[in-house]
């Protein structure tokens, strides 16, 4: 038995002694298979540090290519595509672009034969990736390859499946749905549009751009899952009617030539509802002054649920309110009829209240002198 050897050590020893050749073979097959379906894209760029190259995936036999949206594909006459077999095509059509999904659909024109491609519909039927899954990322990051040279392959694990909260510079990234965060450094210049696959080479996502995670202030490495979707307003005249557009929808309609770029639902900035809570003003030198309650107007929605001075507002609708500013930002997006759930700290206990916002009183009440 495993006497003297810990279980994991035994497992590893086994893996190391018996497996290397076999394991490599397996990756080799997956890599060969995926590489046939990858394309290199060249377009606008080459200035202000913006690379003029990118990656794409063939998604049909007749030359439809999926990649990320952005400046690279903005000028169709400058676009070129190198197929995996090394052939170069200069006539590229931009079929559809959806910045909210950060996706773009291209078509290689003048393609006479059939090329290997990812069957997205089939791929999307497979269960989604889970944290801990081994993954492979394929991309032409840093333009290391050209023509028929294979993509750079990176191995990693799915670190988490979570909503993307990221920014480029100070601009918030438009797509904020779920992504695969990976623990390999995959999102480098030119990697956007690359393939994220299982270790068997089954496609699960498209490698995203270079973005900074706003929560941790670090560069984030992520891929758009095949089941990515956004909520949209199909008709600007009817803002209350929402519909969901998925990546597959986008591709489907794009190929049919019926896809229209949409406006995403965004919380409207408003005057905000009235709560009657006055917060302690910003003490000097503290960027993130915590939202302590200075006073609650009598008869106000805040007073009705028993909020008191010295209560500390911690969460609004489940999200941490890091500062006075965040609280004001959240409230400014509400309407007078909205309900908000607050968790406030009083002493060393957190208590939850639901505040029903109202219309702002016409004249602010001035407290009577004592």
């Amino acid at each position: 038995m495993i006497r003297g050897m810990t279980a994991p050590a035994a497992l590893l020893a086994l893996a190391l002694c018996a497996a290397p050749a076999a394991t490599q073979q397996q990756f080799d097959k997956a890599v060969k298979d995926v590489n046939q379906k990858m394309v290199k894209i060249y377009g606008l760029g080459g200035f202000r540090g913006l690379p003029a190259y990118g990656t794409g995936m063939a998604i049909s036999a007749d030359g439809y290519i999926l990649t990320v949206s952005g400046y690279l594909i903005e000028s169709p006459k400058d676009l070129r595509v190198h197929l995996a077999d090394g052939r170069r095509f200069d006539k590229i059509k931009v079929v559809a672009v959806e910045p909210e999904l950060d996706a773009a659909l291209l078509k290689v024109e003048d393609l006479k034969d059939e090329i290997p491609f990812f069957d997205l519909k089939e791929s999307a039927k497979r269960p989604a990736g889970q944290p801990g899954d081994w993954v492979l990322a394929f991309s032409n990051q840093f333009e290391i390859a050209t023509r028929n040279e294979p993509m750079t392959v990176q191995r990693g694990s799915v670190a988490s499946v979570s909503r993307l909260r990221a920014r480029k510079g100070i601009t918030e990234a438009p797509y904020n749905g779920e992504v695969y965060v990976v623990d390999a450094i995959t999102n480098n210049p030119g990697a956007g549009g690359g393939a994220l696959t299982t270790r068997k080479g089954e496609l699960i996502g498209m490698v995203g751009k270079e973005l900074r995670n706003t929560l941790t202030d670090t560069w984030t490495n992520y891929a758009l899952p095949l089941n990515a979707k956004i909520e949209v307003i199909p008709d600007a005249e009817k803002p209350d009617v929402k519909a969901t557009v998925s990546l597959l929808d986008f591709i489907d309609k794009g190929i049919k030539g019926t896809y229209k770029t949409v406006a995403r639902v965004r919380p409207e900035g408003g005057t905000g509802g009235y709560h009657g809570i006055i917060l302690v003003t910003n003490p000097e030198g503290v960027d993130r002054a915590p939202p302590y309650i200075e006073e609650v107007r009598s008869g106000s929605p805040g007073a009705k649920v028993g909020l008191k001075s010295d209560d500390l507002i911690v969460y609004v609708n489940g999200e941490l309110v890091s500062s006075v500013k965040t609280f004001k930002d959240i409230i400014s997006k509400t309407k007078p009829t909205d309900e908000i759930t607050l968790e406030v700290k009083r002493g060393d206990k957190l208590r939850q209240v639901t505040v029903k916002l109202e219309d702002h009183p016409k004249v602010a009440k001035v407290p009577a002198p004592k």
């Binding site: 050590a9 018996a18 394991t23 889970q130 801990g132 670190a159 503290v286 915590p290 999200e319 941490l320």
Partner: protein
């Protein structure tokens, strides 16, 4: 047999073994990959209930380590912690609280309610913070992987709780994970293990776990080169990550739980040479563990806690993970004897010695008993006590001495007085120049001045340096057999690898002691013509004020390197052996990178240098403590137009914090260039007054 369920991984391994043999030693690759993947997921799931999410309110947006230090933007998102005891204690990385938040909230997996938490204590050596939540239930504590089982190559998974998912208030979701291996053990002077899993604010404070779901360590940013809370953050996601072994944390957990902040335990010794040199003690801090434990300057440390150490690096590995209050035994070699000094109690802070000041310049090279006063600093304690130029101090009595004591010359006098703290009352007997009567004088020592006398008496020396000293058994200095060479001389070190110049004035007098000025040229100014130009600027002073210049050269484009220390020091020592040099006035002088080298040498070779004079140079490393018996004074020049002027002013502040005497001159019209004549003249007077007492 062991009566508990076999860990999943073991079961897997066995199952794999069976498969392996069934398939004639060639298991399908899928089985192995899948087994490993599953084992990793299982180990994550096992630890996940102990990995908590931490959210903070308030605090600053930027975390900085000081005026010109690193700055890092603190993300607004949650951070990670690990439950370390079932009654609500949670360990995390100090980085997560470095922006000084005003409120902390913890989400414990499996519970929807967030709990307010408070900071209990911080381990400043390992950059960990212990927080506590109130809890009625028993919280799940993960198992620590025994340190002795940690091996390089073992699977290591880094976990964080930094994902916000409003639909998952109970944190049922898997923690954020990154898979890697243990890359090295005993990093950061024995305090951390290293991993190639991606470590970043995404998982700082989270656990690094092994494949059976045991916690190897707690993830922290760390660097072997610095100890501040941000050190190592620039390595995030690089494949260089660190974790503090949980076993070590558990070892000090009781102290942390009591609210005791933990700091590094310091021995209080200074050594010379680089990290590979043998650990020879060159100086000892007052009140330190070394001082109390009986370590002496000159001792070679050969073992700590009976573990042999052969180099300074090995010594640092033995001492680097010690805490304030830890007791160690130190084995020293003193001459032929080896001595074991036991129960040395390390302390967190060392006292920087504040050098005292009487306020006189002694007449040099005087073999008579006592000390003749050459100059009295205006408004100094000596001036206030009525000591006059020409008086001879004949006896001294300090606290602890039963009666006045005679002494032989300047060096003995300063050895007695120079180690006393300022404020000490000293009794002197002074034989007056006018009249010859002997007066008893009481004087309270002040703090060493940073003033440079505006005018000094031309007579500085009795010109009897080679005569035997009265009252000392030491043999008289050897008289040179032939007249030493003078002029601008080109020399090489014994190994003939490095060149240096020496300038000795033509009227050199071996009976007068000379100040040695080590000139460290700025980048690219090490040619012969540069040395001649430097000589031209200095030669009149060399003659009138008894100065000898030693000027090593470097051709490196980057200028001086720490590795040049040995040859530069050797050049100084060789020159000191050949000429009559006043050991109290050996000064490293440099400009630009040469100035940085001067600071470095001043701190590294405390036995050699008594002064550092720089122009246009910023102190690049932390200032070391001032040491009794090895005083060091600074003369800093900055051009008002030099972009470095502000940083040079900051250098002054940092040196003052360590209680050094610092003269700082900012010359408004000057840029980044060498000294103009007025400042140069003052620098020469500063050199002439360095043996002040």
């Amino acid at each position: 047999m062991i009566r508990r369920p076999l860990p999943l991984t073991a079961a897997l391994a066995i199952c794999l073994m069976a498969t392996a043999s069934a398939r004639a030693q060639a298991p399908a690759e899928d089985d192995i990959n899948e087994a490993l993947e599953k084992a990793i997921k299982a180990s994550v799931a096992k630890v996940a209930p102990s990995v908590v999410q931490i959210e903070t309110q308030g605090g600053t947006e930027l975390i900085s380590t000081g005026e010109r230090g690193m700055q890092v933007r603190k993300g607004v998102g949650p951070t990670t912690g690990v439950i370390v005891s079932e009654d609500g204690f949670i360990i995390s990385s100090a980085f997560n609280f470095a922006n000084k938040p005003s409120a902390i909230f913890v989400t414990i997996p499996g519970r929807t309610a967030r709990e307010p938490a408070t900071v209990v204590a911080t381990d400043h050596t390992r950059m960990l913070t212990l927080i506590r939540v109130k809890t009625d239930g028993k919280l799940p504590v993960p198992t620590a992987a025994p340190k002795k089982e940690l091996q390089v190559g073992q699977t290591a998974v880094a976990l964080g709780r930094t994902v916000i998912n409003l639909d998952d208030k109970e944190l049922k979701q898997s923690p954020v994970l990154s898979v890697g291996i243990v890359s090295a053990l005993n990093r950061i002077w024995g305090k951390a293990l290293q991993t190639d899993a991606k470590v970043s604010p995404t998982n700082y404070g989270g656990p690094l776990i092994d494949i059976s779901g045991r916690v190897q360590g707690i993830l922290v940013p760390a660097s072997p080169r610095d100890e501040n809370v941000l050190a190592g953050t620039d390595w995030y996601d690089s494949g260089i990550g660190f974790a503090i072994p949980l076993e070590d944390i558990n070892g000090v957990l009781d102290r942390l739980k009591k609210g005791t902040d933990l700091r590094a335990g310091l021995l209080g010794i200074t050594m010379q040479g680089d990290t590979f040199s043998p650990p020879v003690v060159s100086a000892i801090q007052p009140d330190s563990a070394a001082a109390k434990g009986g370590i002496l300057a000159g001792d070679t440390i050969v073992a700590i806690d009976e573990k042999p150490v052969a180099s300074q690096a090995q010594l640092k590995h033995q001492l680097g993970n010690k805490y304030d209050g830890d007791e160690i035994s130190v084995t020293v070699k003193r001459g032929d004897k080896t001595e074991v000094l036991k129960n040395l109690r390390l302390s967190a802070s060392l006292t920087s010695f504040t050098p005292p000041f009487l306020g006189i310049l002694p007449l040099r090279d005087d073999p008579e008993m006592g000390v003749e006063v050459r100059y009295v600093f205006p408004k100094s304690p000596a001036d206030a006590a009525g000591i006059k130029v020409g008086d001879r101090i004949t006896t001294v009595q300090i606290p602890g001495m039963m009666k006045p004591q005679q002494f032989s010359g300047r060096d003995q006098f300063s050895a007695i007085v120079g180690k006393l703290p300022p404020g000490t009352e000293v009794k002197l007997e002074v034989q007056r120049a006018a009249g010859g009567q002997v007066d008893p004088i009481r004087v309270k020592l002040g703090v060493l001045t940073d003033e440079v006398p505006e005018k000094l008496p031309a007579t500085a020396s009795a010109r009897k340096a080679l005569e035997p000293r009265k009252g000392q058994n030491a043999p008289a200095p050897k008289k040179p057999e032939k007249k030493p060479e003078t002029g601008l001389l080109k020399r090489a070190t014994a190994a003939r690898e490095n060149e240096y110049y020496v300038y000795v004035p033509d009227d050199y007098d071996p009976n007068t002691s000379y100040s040695l000025v080590l000139w460290l040229h700025p980048v690219g100014k090490g040619k012969e013509k540069d040395m001649e130009a430097f000589r031209d600027a200095w030669e009149d002073y060399c003659s009138a004020n008894h100065l000898i210049i030693v000027a090593p050269t470097t051709e490196s484009e980057k200028g001086w390197q720490g590795t040049d220390t040995d040859f530069v020091s050797q050049a100084v020592r060789d020159t000191m052996a050949q000429y009559t040099i006043d050991t109290k006035r050996v000064v490293a002088h440099g400009m630009g990178v040469g100035g940085q080298m001067a600071y470095y040498l001043g701190f590294q070779s405390r036995d050699l240098f008594r002064g550092v004079a720089t122009t246009g140079a910023v102190l690049a490393s932390p200032a070391k403590d001032n040491i009794a018996g090895q005083p060091l004074s600074f003369y800093l020049v900055a051009g008002g137009k030099d972009p470095l002027a502000k940083e040079i002013a900051d250098t002054k502040t940092r040196l003052l914090e360590k209680k050094y005497s610092v003269a700082h001159r900012e010359i408004p019209a000057m840029g980044h260039q060498y000294l103009e004549i007025k400042t140069l003249a003052e620098l020469v007077r500063w050199l002439d007054s360095l043996d002040r007492i």
